[in-house]
Symmetry: C2
């Protein structure tokens, strides 16, 4: 069974966390939401309080098949969290796929792993990111090697389906797509 680690930090964008959690679990990927805070319960940017599965510190020694970074208004605060930047660097060095949506691709740049990649992000982050990456696209989801990026809450479902396709193949993604009546 494939395993995914999803970072949940104060001010996360709710749909950007819940779409990967929901759809990857439907596809049979064990998806662990890990809290970066002091409590399992984490408040999202729109005030929803979601309970993480585990504390991030308890996940650092384990191996996952992908790291998923939701965006949201809490992203700029998350940039100060060296555990997360170190995790990105370590996963990248190990060849583990890293997925980031909305504002979260700035964490890839901060960790120093974005320079060689084609990426996208939330439109308002384009100006900041464009000089730091190999190429910036305005596509809804961009898969470039082990780095997968996407644009916002309205692309979260496509992002999640792309992660399923990446981990398990396109037939698995199509099964989930049909099950949820996605476009």
């Amino acid at each position: 069974m494939k395993r995914a680690l999803l970072i949940l930090s104060e001010g996360f964008e709710e749909l950007e966390a819940v779409a990967p959690l929901d759809l990857l679990r439907r596809a049979g990927v064990e998806t662990v939401a890990a809290s970066t805070g002091t409590d399992l319960t984490v408040a999202g940017g729109r005030g929803m309080r979601l309970q993480a599965d585990r504390m991030l510190d308890d996940c650092l020694a384990e191996t996952f098949d992908i790291l998923i970074l939701p965006g949201g208004p809490g992203t700029d605060q998350l940039r100060q969290d060296t555990r997360v930047l170190d995790l990105v660097r370590r996963y990248y060095a190990a060849g583990t796929p890293i997925a980031a949506i909305c504002a979260a691709p700035v964490l890839l740049a901060d960790a120093g792993v974005a320079a060689g990649h084609v990426i996208t992000s939330f439109p308002a982050r384009e100006g900041e990111l464009r000089p730091q990456v190999k190429s910036y696209l305005q596509d809804r989801v961009v898969v470039d090697g082990k780095v997968i990026t996407s644009r916002g809450a309205g692309t979260a479902e496509e992002f999640a389906l792309a992660l399923i396709a990446y981990l398990l193949g396109s037939a698995a993604a199509e099964t989930v797509r049909a099950q949820i009546v996605a476009r």
Copy 2:
């Protein structure tokens, strides 16, 4: 300010609850997630534990501008909850809009308010619902007077945007659509 009441019960479909909560709040609608259980924290069908804003019993005496029913594997259990069926009947009689997605349109039929309406639902519920409604459509979102229905987790974003358009007009929905980079 418009106010929405969203029912959160054990086994709710996470995206079908979170998409309306997230997007209606972005549009400035005060959206209250109300727990039907014995605790504010409610577990969804894919294991996510979301904290409701209030207990349903504490919301029954208040007036809202719309009632929203997410679907999910918990829907059949929710059919036994007379508080919810009574609420649907009371809101319908008062002319308050009622929105149901996925399996939740069966609650409208159970409450006796679906017979005169054109509706849709999760595809697997079509056989059960078709004989009980005026007309059954396979559209992604159906707005028929005060009854708004939709199909599944993969239509939850369109459902939420339709609710914004219904409550606040299409310009408000287009603003949120652009903000989240939706299609």
